[in-house]
Every structure is written in C-alpha cells, then in structure tokens.
Symmetry: D2
C-alpha cells in the first residue's frame, strides 16, 4: 500500500511513522511553513486539569497523554534520545479559592481512572515555590505528578527520522491536490504528480488552503499564538513542573535553563506571522504576574504558531466522504502536542483498516 | 472596479500600484513565503548583454530596463527615496577574446537604438579594475554606462506603500482560489471569501500551486537560486558597476559596503529552501575566481530564491482563457527585477482594457 | 603625525575622520563589542527640548546639533548618501498642561538664538496626529521643525569609510594599553605593539576597562539601554517627526516603515547585554501608551546599548594629565549621537593643537 | 577562601566547579565575547590519534580524555543530562597507505596503556562507510571505540550551573585587573572593585588583554577558527563516529541530524570575528572532499572561535610568579575541550594547595 502524508507536524509525523511501521510505503511532503504550530507549541502534556468538558474531545486528550509512555518508550528503544521529554509534573494554581477547589474536584474526577496522572495532592505556597522557584508568593497549587513536557520540534523530527528508518521518503516541498478520475493526485513543486492509495492531508492550519480549491469543505482555521522563550542563565530548570494558572496563559521549563511562557489566542487573523507589540507585551506581563522572577530573564525568541482550530474543539480526522483515497488528519487546535501522536496512530488504523482503540466516528470529517 | 492581486513580488507589486493609480480598488494578499524571488534577487537592470536571443522575451527585457527611469522618477517624486537604485553601469567581461568580441558586437547591436544604455566602450584591464577594484588582473571589459542595480526588497516595499497610498489594501495572508459560478473567489486564511472583478495571480513560483487545484494549467516551476551577500567593511562600494562575466554568475555592490554574488540555477528541486554546502561553496568559488579581493570579505547572509520559470524564457501574463475574471502575471524567471515593473504596467493595461505599449499577445496564457 | 583611535563609535569615528582629513596618519581599532551604544542608539538630534539645564553640557548638546548640517553636507558631497538622516522635526508633548507650558517656554528660550531649530509652534491634537498618525488622541504638541533623526550605524560607517578614504587604517581588533617609557603603546590581538604620537581612547562604556589597569582613573560607567524596533508594514513613515513625550521614553521613525521606541536607562548593571522581560515589556507599554497604533506593529528587534555615562552629564575629553600622548574622548551618555560628531572635531583640534570653536577646558579629564 | 574566576570557557568553568565543590567562595565573571573558543569548538575527545608528539602536552591531552568518564558521571549524577556527550568512537583515515600504517602504529603505541580507548581495529572501506554513511568510497579507517564527542556549549553551561549549585556567583560582565598593594583586584563593569584570595584569569584568547596592561607578560594569542554546522534532515546521525582524516580538518555529528566540519587555523588575525568567503569555502570543500554526501546538506551556521594559542602547544596554568594571588589558566589551543575539564581540576588543586594527580611544573607560567 502507498500513502502520501502532507504535513509533518505532530499529527502528520505520527501518522507517517505509524504507517511506515506497518509496512506502508509512505511519502511525506512538508514545506516547513513559518508558523507551523508544532514548531511553536509549548509542549505540555497534561489533560487532567483542563476546564473544557466536551467529552469526546476529552477522551482524545486523555488518551493522547496516556499514549506518551508508549511513544517515548518506542522512540527511546529505537535510539531517539533527544526529545526534550520529561515527566516533571504540573502545578495547577489560582488566586481564587473557589477556582482552586473546583480545580481540585475536577482533577480528582478526571484522574480517578488515570493512574498515569500519579497521586495528586495540594501543595502549600512554600512547597509550590520549592518546585517552581520563580512563582509568586502565597499561591497554593495542585500537583499532578504525571504531567509532562516535551519539545515538539525534537519529537516530530524524531518521528520523521524513524518513519524514514522504516522506509518512508521525506521531501521539503510545497504541494497541492489535483483531481484525477474519482480521486486526487499530489502535485509537487516541480509539477510532478504523485499517486497513492491514500492521501492524508495533515496540513494543520493550511489544510483548508489545500482542500478548498478542490471543492472539499474543511472548516479548520488558523488561530494565531505568540509564545515567548526566556533564559534564566545558570538556573537548573529541568525539573520545574508545568505551571497552569487556569488562565489562557501557562509556563514551562526545559533542561537548558529555558522557560517558555504562552500564549496569545488570536482568531480571525489569518496567517499573520508577525510578532506584535501587544502580543509580546501581553505574554510577558502575564508571565511576570504569575512568576515575578521572570522579570530579569533574558528573552531568547518569540515564536509564532497557527493552531489548526475547527468549529468545535474536537479533532477532525478520517476518510473524506465521497472522495476516493482522500483523508484528513487535522483540527487539534491547542491540543496538538498532547493528542497528535495518538491521533496519528488512530489515523493509521483507519487507513489500514485496523480496529481503532477508541471509536473514531465522532471525529470523522463531514461534508 | 475591484481587483485582487495575489503575490507582492515585483510583478504583483507593480500591477497593484499601476491599478491603484488608475482608481481600481485593489486588495493585495501576500504570505511572504520564504524563498520569494523578489526578496532574494540580486537586482541587476542591464538587458543589453544577455546571450539569450529570443526576440519576444528580449523585447520585454529591454522595455523593462527602459521603464526604470520612469518608475524611479515617479517613486522619488512620491517621496520614496530608499530604493537602493543606482545607475552604476555594467562591466561585461570574459577571459576569452572571442567571447569578448562577440559580446561587443552583441551589445553594439542591442544598444544601437537604446540611448538609455549610454556610450558603450571597451575598458582596459586597468580601467576595469579602477571601476571594480577587487576584479582579477588582466581582464578587459565592456562598460555599459546605463546598467543599473536596485534593491528589490526596498523597491517592492515602496511600490506596495504607494499602492496603499492610492487606496489599496494589503494583507499578510495565505490565500487560495475557489470556483464560484463561472469564475472564482479568493479564500483567505480566515476562510472568508473575497470577490473581485478581476483576480490576478502573481504568485511567482507558487502560482501553479494556486491554479492547478482549480484545473487551470500553469507551467511555471520554481528554479532555485542561492545568492551570497558579503561585506567589504570600510570600502566605498556604492559606485561599483554590475559585473557580468558571461557565466551563470555575476556580482554587484550596494551603498553599504555590500557585495552580492549570485547565483545557482537549480531546476527540479521543488521548493527546497535550504542553503546547501555545494550551493554556497560554488557561488563563493565563482566569486573569488573573478574577484580575488572577495576572499577576505565577510559573509553576511545567503539568500534562497525560487525563480518562477516557465517552459520558455518568455513571461506569461494576461487573462486566463475560459476563466471568468482570472488573470495570471508570472513567468519572469531570472528577469523579474528588470521586467517586473514594466510587465505590471502592461498587466494593468490588460485588466483595465487600456492600450498596451507593446503587443502582449505573445505572452498570453494558453490552455 | 600618527594617531591611534580606540573605538569607532560616534565620537571615535568622528575624531578619526577629522584627524585623517588634516593629514594625520590615523589607525582605528574597534572590536564591535555587542552593546556598542552607537549601534543601538535611536538617532535623535534635537537638543532644544531637553529638561536638563547644565549649561556647559547644553552648550555641547546644542553645538552638536548645529554641526550636523556641516557634517551631512560634507559626507553627502563625498558621496555618502546612505545615512538615514532627515530633518523631520520633533514633537514635544505631554498630557500635563503645566508641563506643556514649561516646555514651550524652555524651547522658546533655547531656540531664540538657534535659527536651525526653525519656527517653533504649538500644534493642535489633530495637527499633531496628522504629523504622527499613531499618536494618541487629544495631545497638543510643540513642533520644532529643526529636529532631525539619523541612523547612527550608517553615519558612523560612513565617517569610517571617509576616514579610510583619507588614509586611515581600520582594524577589527580588541586592543589594550601597555605602559612604555613616559607614555603608552597599543597592544593588538596578535600581541603586536603600536606606537603613535597620540593615542585617543574613545572606547565608550569600555574605556574604563582600558584605562583602569594602567592606573588612569576614568569615571565613565555603562548605562544599559534596551530599545525596540518595530515595523508598520505599508505605512510611509519617513516624514514622521521625532516624538518626545517628556518622559524617559521617545519614539522616531525611519524610511523603511520602521518605528523605534526607546529606551530603558539601567544603571549599575555592568555589561549585562541581555534583552530582559521587564525591559522589553516596559518599553513596549510606554510606546503603546503614547502611540496606541503601535499595538499591531511587528517587532523586528530589540537592541542593547551601553551608554558611556560619567559622574556628571558633561562629556569628558582631552589630554589625560600626566600621561604622555594619551587622550580620552568619552562620556557622551545618551547624547552621543547628537554630540559625537562635533566633539570629535573638537578632539581633533585638541590633538592637532588647533583653536577650538568653543572652550574645551570644562570637559578636560582630571585625575 | 574566596576565588574569582575570569572567563567561563571549558577551563574557567571547570576550575570554578572544582573550587566550588571544595567549598571555596567562587565568583565568576564572563562577558560571552563573540568568538569564545568554547562556544565554537567542535567537541572531539580523542587524543590517541594526534600526530603531535610533544610528551608533556600529550600527557595532559590523554589525561583530559581519561577524566571525561568521571566528569560526565558526576554531572549526570547531579542531574545534568543535556551535555551532547556520546562515546561514538573515532575513525582515523587517509588515502595514503603509509600514513595509514603510521597512524596504526601511533595509535597502537598510544592506546597500549589506555584501556578507555577500547579495542582499536582496522575497518574496511565498507565497514567505515557503514559507520559514517556519507564517507567517500575506498577509505579504510582505524576505529578507536573510546573516541567521544561533546557539545561544549552545553557542557560548560552545565559546569557553571553546578558551580552555582555549590554556591558560586555568576556575572555576565566585562572585567579587568587593577593593581592594589602587592596584588590585584578585579574591576567590574560598574567600577566596583572585587577582592579575592586568588584571582584566576581563564580568559582564553583575551587573557593577554587583561594581563598585559598590568605588566604581566602572557604569550597567548588568538588563533582564529571557522567551523561549519550542517544538517542532514531526517538522517539519524547520533551514532556517527568522529572522523579524523589526518588533515587540519575533521568531522563529527550530533543527535539532531547535525554534522560539524572544521576548521580553519588562522594565525595573526587578531580578533577578526568575521566569517570570510575563503574560510567558509575552504571548510566546505574539505568536508565535501572526504564526505561527498555532505554536498546536499543544509548549512545551519558558521561559528567563529579564537583558540588561545601559546608559543608552544603546552597549556599554561598556575600561579603567576611574583604576583600575589594571581593565577592564569589558559593556552589550551585546539585541545581545550579535551583538556579543559581536567586542567580545571589541576588548577583547583594548585589554588587550594592540594596534591596534583600529575606534575604541573611543566605548565607553570614564567616571566
């Protein structure tokens, strides 16, 4: 069987890897658009604290986190060691006592059947600061030991490397779809047409630009995010937990004394890839408000990412009805890093006709 | 009248400016793809030395150069002073006596009716070195006083600014075409559809990716170029002529002690935007061979550009047959900076039904 | 006569140029330290609005501005056209009526004998916004037509190029002083010792690091500034006046749709070259407060500069007492771009024994 | 005891860490000069193949490699996991049969008493290509399993973090020495003077600039190196051995599909931090000659480093004769990454009066 995967973000890279492992002849096309969500995403894997209650989405979100142990184990066994992955735990906090209590109940309910979340407990403000030293004073926090962070750039690159190790072919190229007979073919940058038994459009925020011209409605739009990376030189940050203040912002740290603060959520901006004055300032202000110790940190870079956001929070993946040999794998929004690897496995199940671990009908694309 | 221009390179920016000046309501969409030819192009305006003899192409090439005086005059009058434009002259040289003689004859024939080229004369090796101090020894050169160089980044930005000053609207966005009725509409990054009386696809190397999905054949492909910018700190380079050694390589200089050496011509690479070891090394070797004084210059950056190359060297522009309200403006290949501004004027003539200064039928897109 | 100038910022570059023009054999050493004030400075030339009243400093500040017409004229005549210089005028504004009145009186007094300032007048809020379109509403402003802006990177590079054109030799190198006999020699990066009749230390914030080890007290310290460059794509900003809101912040624009907002004034930080969260955020907040239209501007870069700040605001230049053949040219603080070129001329007068246009005794270094 | 370490390269960082671990109050000053050798160095740890026979230098070189197991073990135990260190082995190769035989004998002699080098064996051209897939054809190679590579940026940052964890204080600042009484004090960027029982100048190529002004002769000069980093996207390079073709060039790879080719050795350039046309081209040509598969690799960056090179190849470290409380730790040249960590330990022994594992007299600074 031959499959073409368009897009090498978390969803596409995982789909390509899972297909290649099953012996499918996979060709991957990726243009590395500036603003790829995977290249800009923070890298938080911690579903249990979300305030969103949509059940079918949450099932994917939780399953995605559960899948990480398998994924990281497989990749490590294959020699992929440089993933930026660490189960550092997550701190869920708020200055509002009511919010804290609600969060505690929500997390307890969610983690009841999720042993991978670990033993959740309430930290005193002092304990919280010990775990996250630049945290502001007097903030209790719920600790979820199973929370993790990962460097999505490294992880997606590793999945692609492993797909290639299993025979996949990768091209840096910008492709589009052209109708042929009952189905479609992929046109690459040289004008060459590529056929496959299945074409999987994992183009993220750009997928609609690929699908609309051929008359396939696809409701995913870009949601712009601006995310700031800072350095606390000389500070050992690698064990710092993910910080979730129950606002639209968050904070996490990596091994190299690097702290990440995110993110704006800008709708209806189209593909405006600019770092803006208000975007940068608002993220910095939010970060310093929850972590005053950030004030003297060095700004390394600000990344722009376009989250692929559908009309509902649910992912959209599966065969396109009425389109021969065409699938989409998209719509993970802000949850792409958590959900992408698992969703890619499901996508590979769909394409190869295997049984899926969870029902995928709720996520199927419609006309 | 409403027009949408897709792409803000030399051709698109000029088309937008010319239309806006005539009172057309212009909307411009540009994603600033990495690899836009206009952002990478060297900026040579000197048609008379080319070894290519295709007459219809050459007519455009020569007319494009002739048009520059008007363009620069208009922009300067409008207050656009920062264009990197200077009529520094061009040196055409070769180590081969036969090539030099052939070049002299070719240039004489071409400039006979082109007063803007100035009085062409043969420079001794010493005179040539005085004009281009890092030139290797013992190289005579033909001097074409009318040769010029321009910074296409600044020039295209100035044309867009002036289009906006005339009422045009500019969006950083990534759009595509969707069929509607007998014609097409533009779908922007937010999914919003934009209608216009005329949609002009000036997408350069990316145009085929926009047109193929809607069933419009467009034979333009990207031709990759790698071009190196170097600094000769402390050296006053602003009067240095353009250097044309009659190979695929060339050299020119800007006001800020900057020297540009170009370029590779890589076909069938698709949109591979990488600076490669062999590309970088080959351009540097070619530059040092003709200009040994470059050896100790500082490398500032290497730019990648995808030239929009059609099946013949001729531009392709005009209304798309059988497509209501759809035009293309493309195919300028390596001549985009010379031809773009003039071709944009012709394109505006076509769209507004004005008489064109030269016949445009030879450049019309076919099915 | 042979002179060595250490440091190629505004002061050093001007000194080198003025000396070279007089036939002095000049050697310039500059390491291009990250954080050179000249490379980060905003580029405002408008002394008349300052709230500082120190008379001897103000005399230099005003004379520096007056000197610009001569400098720009000379450089342009020499073919240096790319200086980013434009007499765009300055807007002095405040929300406080009392401050506005005081400013008006101050400016009137200062410009009484300064025809180069032009005819100062009060603009209505609407007039002010017409000149500076992103200015907030309801702000009257004093317009000083003679205010100018300049790109100090281009101007210093041009002065160095012209010094070289007059026989100066330039080295990218990191040097220090070593005692020899009654005087000193310069030790370059290769260990080679360079002698001169006069060694002029124009090392800016780094001068003390050069002088202290040889026992020469020099009280200048680095004052860190963080300054943000933004782009308003498509907006013609080249005529925008310099904006002086009578706070520590300011705003100006350049030809390429670029707006500059500055700056932090951070003392006792030493040479901390990092862009910090609080520095970046504070400058952006200040900019958006006075110019709300900046909110959607693109952040291009944030520059760090270390202003050479002495114990008083006065410059420090002249022969070092008791040190044979050693001079310093330093201490211009935040006024370097305005004062540097003129001070360099005075410095050249001192070194060559010419009469100075103004008394320089008040600025002489002491032990 | 209080110690000040000037310079946080491999030598300084290791000295600071070793001192801090022993309870010394350490203050570290580092300006992060562009061109710090540690930030540019390739990261090869493989002493046994060198063609240099100077015995005292080789003893340090070999001991430095031997020390790595201890160092990496200690850092990993302390939680420093991100060091880019891997014992990938080294391939020593040449097209000249005589050179290969001589290399084999040399390596055999060197590794006889160096079990950490592993079992050296001759690989066939095919075996060599299996280990280093882009190697040119028909090249046999000696495999030294104990050869390793390390990312000196990560390693030095980790040593500094651990020094801080043991109480050291780190400043980004640019300091100098000033005489005081029989000894010296450190003057920081704010003009503040810092005293210590021992001041250790580990300023690498810049050390002479610190020492000369106070009359301390120090013969170390910068030797410029240009080193190119390339990416082979999708290729799993992390197990690739270090490649030593017995020329002045070499190649190694890191986990992230990155290949490093080095390096120029440019003497008497002073601190010329520019990437030059000839430097870049020569490194690329050398790399493609030994590894043709590099031709299509992406150039990521070119780094400049100034190796601290003394008059002989031997390191120079220890107390400065006749200078109270002043030591130097320098002169590691191209061997800094191999020797630095061990030399820092010896330096700490010297400063604390501990017995050194090897005699250090041969490396003591002289007047």
């Amino acid at each position: 069987m031959r499959a073409i995967v368009i897009g090498a973000g978390m969803f596409g890279a995982s789909t390509a890897l899972q297909l290649a492992r099953r012996g499918v002849q996979v060709t991957i096309f990726d243009f590395a658009h500036q603003g790829k969500a995977t290249m800009a995403g923070a890298g938080i894997v911690c579903p249990w604290a979300t305030q969103v209650e949509e059940p079918e989405w949450y099932e994917m979100y939780a399953a995605g986190a559960r899948f990480y142990d398998t994924l990281i184990g497989d990749l490590t066994a294959a020699g992929e060691v440089d993933l930026g992955y660490r189960k550092v735990g997550a701190l869920v906090t708020s200055q509002d006592a009511g919010d804290m209590q609600a969060a505690g109940e929500r997390i307890a309910r969610r983690t009841a059947n999720a042993p991978e979340a670990g033993d959740v407990r309430l930290l005193s403000a002092r304990e919280a600061q010990e775990k996250f030293p630049i945290l502001r004073d007097n903030l209790e926090a719920w600790l979820i030991p199973g929370g993790a962070r990962v460097d999505a750039r490294l992880l997606s690159a590793a999945m692609i490397r492993q797909a290639i190790a299993h025979g996949a072919v990768f091209h840096n190229d910008y492709v589009t779809l052209v109708a042929k007979g009952d189905g479609y073919v992929v046109r690459d940058g040289t004008g060459t047409l590529h056929e496959a038994d299945e074409i999987i459009v994992a183009g993220g925020a750009w997928a609609s630009q690929i699908l609309s011209p051929i008359g396939v409605a696809h409701p995913v739009k870009p949601q712009k995010g601006q995310i700031v990376h800072l350095r606390l030189a000389g500070v050992q940050t690698k064990e710092w937990p993910v910080l979730l203040p129950m606002t639209s912002h968050y904070m996490l740290a990596f091994d190299d004394s690097r702290v990440v603060v995110g993110a704006t959520r800008e709708n209806d901006m189209g593909f405006d890839y600019r770092v803006t004055a208000t975007g940068q300032a608002s993220v910095l202000e939010a970060g310093m408000a929850i972590a005053p110790g950030l004030a003297n940190a060095e700004i390394i870079e600000t990344r722009i990412g376009f989250r692929p956001a559908g009309p509902s929070i649910k992912p959209i993946f599966g065969r396109v009805p009425g389109a021969q040999g065409l699938s989409v794998a998209n719509g993970l929004g802000a949850g792409g890093i958590s959900i992408g690897p698992f969703a890619g496995k499901l996508m590979a199940d769909v394409v190869t006709g295997a049984t899926t671990e969870v029902p995928v009908a709720p996520y199927a694309p419609t006309l």
